[in-house]
Subunit: 311 residues, 2 copies
């Protein structure tokens, strides 16, 4: 509750929005300052029995060093949240707080799934025809090996299938040309791995011009290019809003619609919100976390990487 | 004249547009089918004494293999044009034809400037405040070394200074975070080279969200990320046009405004046009080529890389 530029107010408002729209039998555990949260909940008329506050008096600032802060502030909402997730007291953890601390917590408290070399973070990308795609990695791995990209494709495919409800998601390798053999050394070496992976519905290379088109459902790249693409897409929203260029298509570049960035490849659902998340983003992050639990996405991912059919 | 999807008609129209707007003492040599061009020029009322047609009966198709086509079709407009450029009969060469053939021609007929490890291709990127920036490399070098990026920065800086008229252009390294030390191995290793290069006004890292903002004038990256960014930017124009989202800012994503992509680092001015170039793009390519000649950009570049002051 204490993470993000508008914490805890927007988190509380997002919670209220979620409860007003959904009637799931979900238990919501709020990590943060108990006094502050209790009065904010009362102020916003939130009295749901689904809610329980877990006192976490410390806060990790947005610019603190992730590893150091997590170690020193064991009573922070992020540290306590990960402890609850690691010990099985909660099934998913969400925060719009310090991204580095969220990643370190996810990697070291929750652990990477057996068989996965590197987890990735995924982002939803709007398509011009109204559909949505998944882009990954968008920043966790600035340097990658071909095997990483092949695994990201599997993670993205399962996410698209179970969370976005896309049957047999089409996978594209983000590249600088359409033909096999194009690209930098990484893309050239990744193509055959994607092509021969029987878990994937591989559609070949896509180019920058295809990112916003409905050519494929899952777009795979290393975290450097993915991060640049994502931030550029986000800036299009900011710029067009500032210029009052109004259109439904441009509205869909508002990251708040997509409910944060899941960390794919760690053993439990972890969702990282944008620092500037507001009400709607918090509501959507809860919805995505619930869907990750309900669809058993993590079980599907584990099964996929151990080679066992869906356990 | 024979290059591009709408050749030679749009090239002829661009020529007419250029002549109607400019009164430079420029000599224009048109490479292509003499019969076809003679009647097209007459049809469009172009009788300028500045124009001379050089017969080149062969055409390299847009999908032909560049090296093979250049070798086999020595009477193609691209091959003849490069021969004229290499032998000093013309001072700059422009084509919207087969991009690969243009690059091969530039690298092997014209040669790379002494001291330059790899040439790059640069693109103009519109800034939200009405200014323009330069992004390079946008596709010639999918894999780069830090030394390449440092040289691209110098090439981009000189281009911004002499062609765009920007005093002391601000240079940014495209990266995934603002602080020094962020990024993939290439960006991490490139940062200190850019920082210590006394020819550069280095502003540090920029992120994807800064590409369309007026943070820096020259944005440097390897040709993989640059190509993805450029093609994504171009797609924004296509998509918003198709959706009839009208705004002056979006109009500026129309590549036709910017007159093609200069190949920077080769010994003479070479400009490659987009395959779908029309009238306006051809006119602007001529204007950029003239500016490259008039400002002595190539002399400045050569001086910069040999260490001698502007010769």
């Amino acid at each position: 509750m204490m993470g993000g530029d508008f914490a805890p107010l927007e988190a509380v408002k997002g919670l209220r929005l979620y409860l007003s729209e959904k009637a799931d039998a979900v238990s919501l555990f709020l990590f943060g300052d108990k006094g502050q949260l209790t009065s904010l909940l009362a102020e916003h008329g939130i009295h749901s029995k689904q809610i329980q506050i877990i006192h976490a008096p410390e806060v990790i600032g947005m610019h603190e060093h992730p590893t150091k802060a997590l170690k020193e502030k064991q009573q922070s909402s992020i540290a306590v949240g990960f402890y609850w997730l690691a010990t099985g007291k909660i099934d998913a953890f969400i925060s719009a707080g310090n991204t580095g601390a969220m990643l370190v917590g996810a990697m070291f408290s929750i652990k990477v799934i057996d068989g996965i070399l590197r987890p990735a973070i995924a982002s939803i990308i709007p398509k011009e025809n109204g559909k949505t795609g998944v882009l990954l990695d968008v920043g966790l791995n600035a340097d990658c090996k071909p095997e990483n990209l092949s695994q990201f494709a599997v993670l993205g495919s399962l996410y698209a299938q179970y969370i976005l409800g896309i049957e047999k998601p089409r996978i594209g390798l983000l590249n600088v040309g359409e033909e096999e053999g194009k690209g930098n050394l990484l893309a050239q070496a990744s193509y055959p791995l994607l092509k021969q992976n029987s878990q994937l519905n591989f559609s070949g290379n896509i180019e920058g011009r295809d990112i916003l088109l409905d050519r494929v459902d899952v777009m795979v790249c290393e975290g450097f290019t993915g991060n640049v693409v994502l931030k550029m897409a986000e800036s299009i929203y900011d710029i067009t809003k500032a210029k009052e260029i109004e259109h439904e298509f441009l509205d869909r570049f508002n990251f708040e619609y997509y409910g944060g960035t899941p960390v794919l490849g760690v053993a439990k659902p972890v969702i990282i919100g944008h620092g500037i998340s507001q009400e709607k983003a918090f509501k959507n992050m809860i919805a995505v976390a619930v869907k990750m639990i309900e669809t058993g996405l993590l079980t599907k991912i584990k099964a996929s990487f151990t080679g066992h059919p869906n356990a």
